[in-house]
Symmetry: C2
DNA sequence: CGCCCCTTCCTTGCATGCAACGAGCCCCCC
DNA sequence: GGGGGGCTCGTTGCATGCAAGGAAGGGGCG
């Protein structure tokens, strides 16, 4: 299961490639029954796509998908921040967030690798605690559905900075975002907390740009092999024939006469 | 698979009850292998919860969970509306939305059952088309993760009105929300579209109140058996000992010394 | 020479048998 | 009489055998 995910993340299988069972059986050393279970789970996570006739292929993600995933993470983390603000935070949680962020602040100007690893860990725990403070198990599930994608986690693209210290400013901005989030949650300013968290997630967009412009760095991002750099043809919304086919004519109100 | 979900929705199994495999095998007439697959899928959908030692139990939802699901649906549908506004809508899509909503408007004051069924269908297709207009497959997936819960769909609680015509005003308000959404999307007013969609989803909160106050109606809501009416004890955030246990001491910044 | 049909192999999905883990209970010992 | 240890049964997870569906290739017919 874990090994199978690693296999896909590392680009061992190319997008669109069929994931046949028998080769995986002899590659992973497990039987077909647990393998099928793992494949179904990875399909649910969105890494695989089920074929109509059975079987799975590795799903392909466009650069637009990555941007959407980042925006959606911002939306959901924004909701978490808003919930935390609206529902009230414990003094202990606020203190923990502050302590984490203070340590983060002491790390953003260091450039050794160990400090950066610590930064990643602390950043993860900051976001995890804020999510807990929302006190919504459904929100946790929703966010997991996004962050399970390899490039959508709160720290997935951050380590572009590790390779390119010139853009360390982003870490400074992220640190300030954290401070604003703590303040907004404490003052129960839900709207502010929400928009701050959204903007915070959008920092990953900057990292994405950095990463795609440096192919050597991109190759170190987990799951980068699943992303097609060539953007899919953005259809012109004004004259898009692909949007025309109506799969469900019965639901098309234009074809539905007024009820008797 | 479908039959298994029906079994849970209809309250054939109570929340917390263990879903043993062998009884289900002789009840559904299928073997254990596809049954296990179905159980895993239902766990992913959130209807079942996996036990640490193996096996599954029916998940229990509190009234707060239902409210969270409604709010989250509003958040995600709000994002869909915003995306549709920001990314531009085709004239065809806008016309389809208008046609659907016009028909809806002609139905809200009728009280026969057939009109209500038509209303439900049109409402679903309105929301479905708006979601398509967001042009984000990841958003579709996220929203599916919420609406797969039996009580969280856009029309799940609406039909409380079918039983209680006194509160048909909600349908009038929903119709106006739809009109505002179309207008906002056409004018590319993303923020307005988003907040309108959120408020639109919150109409379900009113339906929820109606439903819980009328137990006989509640029993007709799909999946109602999974909802515990007694609200879980809302812990006082200011003095909550349950939030204290730190599951991951290594990630606790308060215990982490400053890095060397 | 091209197209269609048939056959064959490959792949997936299902059913069943087996082993290992854990819970519950009974018996024995203290 | 109480507690602990061991035994037994029930349950889950895994491996393998079998059947059905589909795709591809080859052969035959038009």
């Amino acid at each position: 299961m874990l090994r199978l995910r690693e296999l896909i993340f590392n680009g061992r299988y190319s997008p669109g490639e069929r994931m046949a069972e028998l080769p995986l059986v002899e590659l992973l050393g497990v039987s077909r029954t647990p393998l099928r279970l793992a494949l179904a789970q990875l399909e649910h996570e969105g890494l695989l796509r089920g074929l109509p006739g059975g079987g799975y292929v590795v799903r392909e993600f466009t650069q637009g998908d990555v941007r959407d995933a980042i925006e959606l993470r911002g939306v959901l983390e924004g909701t978490a921040a808003r919930f935390a603000a609206e529902r009230g935070a414990t003094a202990r949680d606020l203190a923990a967030l502050r302590a984490t962020n203070e340590t983060i602040g002491s790390l953003v100007h260091r450039s050794d690798y160990e400090s950066f690893e610590r930064y990643l860990s602390l950043n993860e725990s900051f976001h995890a605690r804020m999510l807990k403070m929302a006190r919504s198990s459904l929100l946790v599930r929703s966010l997991e559905g996004i962050t399970s994608l390899p490039f959508a986690g709160p720290s997935a693209l951050v380590f572009a900075q590790a390779e390119l210290p010139a853009s360390r400013d982003i870490l400074v901005i992220a640190h300030r975002h954290h401070s604003g989030l703590i303040d907004a949650i404490e003052r129960r300013q839900g709207a502010r907390a929400e928009s701050l968290a959204r903007e915070h997630a959008r920092l990953a967009l900057a990292n994405l740009e950095i990463v795609v412009d440096n192919r050597d760095v991109l190759d170190r991002v987990p799951g980068a092999a699943l992303i097609t750099l060539v953007e899919e043809a953005e259809p012109d919304p004004a004259a898009d024939p692909a949007a025309a086919p109506e799969p469900d004519p019965a639901a098309d109100p234009a074809a539905a006469p007024e009820p008797a």
